[in-house]
């Protein structure tokens, strides 16, 4: 694109509106979807909205700094995608599911599970790593079996 036309405030505003809309749609996706991959895609969508804002301002002010920042955003997005996907892969390997609700349990295994506010049915697959160590619940001393004295 060699021909650069003037950019009015109205044009900038409409670009910003598009960016905001994309951002908000990304937010909606992030908040509502339960698929780990879709959550990441929604995050990327939000980044797109931000990128549009940046380029629009860059065009409006006529300097390249906005575009430079978009390149950085691109870099970070690539990092995020790489790390996020490898995390998703290892999470998937644990539970054989991409459902994010399966990973909402912060407590110990022997504590009652906090039910999610939405009360959605969660399919909990059998945990193949059930025997990794965990803390025992603290509190009163457990009743021990009385040892019978040995008579000699």
């Amino acid at each position: 694109m060699t021909q650069v036309s003037e950019m009015t405030a109205t044009a900038l505003e409409s670009q910003l509106i598009v960016g905001a809309t994309l951002f908000v749609l990304g937010v909606i996706g992030f908040l509502t979807r339960r698929n780990l991959i879709l959550i990441m895609l929604s995050a990327e969508l939000m980044l797109h909205g931000v990128s549009i804002n940046l380029t629009a301002f860059s065009r409006y002010h006529g300097n390249p700094q906005g575009q430079v920042f978009t390149i950085f955003v691109l870099t970070i997005a690539a990092c995020e995608a790489g790390l996020g996907l490898s995390l998703i892969l290892s999470l998937y390997q644990r539970r054989k599911s991409l459902d994010v609700l399966l990973w909402g349990k912060l407590g110990e295994d022997d504590l009652p599970v906090f039910t999610s506010p939405s009360n959605l049915p969660v399919q909990v697959p059998v945990d193949p790593n059930a025997d990794y160590p965990h803390l025992s619940p603290s509190g009163r001393m457990p009743k021990t079996q009385p040892t019978t004295p040995t008579k000699t």
Binding site: T8, T21, L22, G29, I52, G62, L85
Partner: protein, 254 residues
């Protein structure tokens, strides 16, 4: 903040948009999806009418509206599609539309880079992961039951409303000033302490060359050299991290 008629008008597309997203969301119950689609289209149209500039480059405007509507519609479909593969493909379309907007904003290099990075690499990776994870092709029930779709979209649209109101306020109050300051081709005077490194000072770029590789490269490797190095380091660390986190072969791939 005074409540103007124009402000009130904004509520209509916002409400419609919320309705559209809510209706389009995957759900166990049957929902009138077509109604949702229609509501979404209406919302987009109303917004476009509200934003229609009094006069201007017709081709440019048409292209802008095409890309803008394309990206928004694709984004809406992406977040509402129950099949993650389709979602990823819709995301590809969003990326393409956004690249179109980049082109309109005289950023050809960015457009190319974004297509290469996103469409070429990220989305392909996503698709690989989706296909690895869902080899049976069946859609998990977690994809059909979103979390609190109505409340989340409502909150998000309130956020959008706030953003739009801000823009409108800016248009009313700051707009004229800003346009005075920032006439096309004019640089905003940056305070000295905020100016880039004086060692790499260079004469003001030709405004017609903003998106050109030369200007971009000079800025990147001149003013932002340090940041570029940092970004490279971050990329390296992310690569190492991804390799470290990814499941070992000994543990079995997926």
């Amino acid at each position: 903040m005074e409540w103007t008629e124009e402000n009130g008008l904004l509520l209509i597309p916002l409400g419609l948009g919320w309705l559209a997203v809510w209706l389009l969301m995957p759900s166990e119950r049957k929902r009138p999806r077509i109604l949702g689609g229609l509501a979404g289209l209406a919302a987009i149209l109303i917004m476009q009418m509200m934003l229609l500039p009094p006069a201007g480059d017709l081709v440019r405007n048409a292209l802008f509206f095409l890309f803008a509507a394309g990206s928004v519609i694709s984004a809406a479909l992406m977040i509402t599609d129950r099949n993650p593969v389709y979602s990823a493909l819709w995301f590809a379309l969003v990326t393409l539309s956004v690249c179109g907007l980049f082109l309109l904003n005289s950023a050809p290099f960015l457009a190319a880079a974004t297509i290469i990075v996103y469409a070429g690499a990220i989305i392909v990776t996503f698709l690989f992961v989706i296909m690895l994870a869902q080899q049976s092709g069946t859609i998990g029930n977690y994809d059909q039951q979103p979390l609190q779709p109505a409340m989340a979209s409502l909150g998000a649209f309130i956020l959008l409303g706030a953003l739009l109101f801000t823009l409108q306020e800016w248009g009313h109050i700051g707009g004229p000033d800003a346009s005075q300051h920032a006439m096309p081709g004019q640089f905003i005077t940056v305070p000295v302490e905020l100016q880039p490194n004086p060692l790499s000072q260079h004469p003001p770029d030709n405004p017609h060359e903003i998106g050109s590789l030369r200007v971009l490269g000079r800025s990147l490797f001149g003013d932002y050299l340090f940041a570029v190095e940092l970004a490279g380091t971050v990329l390296l660390i992310a690569t190492i991290g991804a390799i470290a986190i990814a499941p070992r072969r000994s543990q079995g791939t997926l």
